[in-house]
Symmetry: C2
Subunit: 201 residues, 2 copies
């Protein structure tokens, strides 16, 4: 599937509101090290992206009730299939408020801990049914670095960085999460993880 | 992934309007014989199903222009990935008028030729960019049996059978195509072919 390009990085665009991004994150973290390290984790918020694509509010894919119910069952089965934890009881916390969590991911970048902490955040939201807007939950996710991370995540540069990820996502052609961008191609959905890897190899 | 049930059949619900159903059909036909024969091919028309789920016309998944453009690129890449022919130039024939083709599939059932002829019909629409509403194309698909098949497909029992597939699909929980139904579970999309097989095994 190579396109003649050199082996390239894969931008992994994720939003903690997306349970399919959670599945993608688990699958990426289980890849062999050389493959896993090709991913650049890019947190963003879907709201501005949807607003861009459809200013009238129609940017989000609309689903009828039958499709929506099937989506949650699909997620349960996907997690069973891949051996991934799943603990969402109904949709109580969905979509989770996740601005602070997304900022914390940007605060981790310097330390290179983003993949690890993003996975812990996803698990809190979707495997442990915890509220990732809760400061205590974020502190737990941050572990020993929590105080620094939370403080940094409240800084203006980090706030600005998350805001900039909106136009950056739109510029990359993103219309939903998760998405993989590599070699000028945008692959939408966790179902395209293998193809994104093959394309970039 | 077995649920304790005996190995069960997998209903493959397809509509010739769905390019992803085309990909699914190609993948099914390449399976080892014992797996391939577990599929029951069920042609249907999405129109009545969408109308049921959202009488106001919102039953179809709505996509913004960015998502729609990515869908067609995704299909090209999927076909490249799986080594499947792809010949749709733009969306000239999309969605194809396919009522007659769907009826012809029901006319083939007695002869057990439905999978073979459905695949030829899908290829005509999506690999060869031909109009499957054209009688000459249908005759070509039918081959030596074409005269009989076309005549049978115009009979009232076959027309009624296709109409009945609408409520049958709705009753099975179908909200889009392709779908796989096995062991009381509905798997939506060609991406779920492997999981449907695993679930039913």
């Amino acid at each position: 599937m190579a396109t003649g390009a050199v082996r390239s990085r894969i931008a992994f665009w994720y939003d903690f509101a997306s349970p399919y991004a959670y599945v993608a994150a688990e699958r990426i973290m289980r890849l062999p090290s050389d493959q896993r390290q090709r991913f650049l984790w890019r947190p963003f918020l879907l709201g501005p992206v949807f607003a861009h694509h459809a200013p009238d509010g129609g940017g989000r894919q609309q689903m009828n009730p039958a499709a929506r119910a099937n989506k949650w069952r699909d997620l349960e089965r996907l997690c069973l299939y891949y051996g991934i934890g799943w603990g969402v009881q109904g949709v109580r916390l969905y979509p989770p408020r996740r601005m602070h969590a997304a900022r914390m991911m940007l605060a981790t970048r310097a330390a290179g801990r983003q993949p690890e902490l993003a996975l812990r955040t996803f698990r809190a939201a979707f495997a442990e049914d915890r509220d990732i807007a809760d400061e205590a939950v974020l502190a737990d996710i941050g572990g020993n670095d929590a105080d620094t991370l939370v403080a940094t995540s409240r800084s203006q540069p980090v706030k600005d960085a998350l805001i900039r990820n909106g136009p950056a996502a739109i510029g990359a052609g993103i219309f939903g999460a998760p998405s993989f961008v590599t070699g000028g191609e945008l692959f939408f959905g966790q179902d395209r993880l293998d193809q994104a890897l093959a394309w970039s190899a």
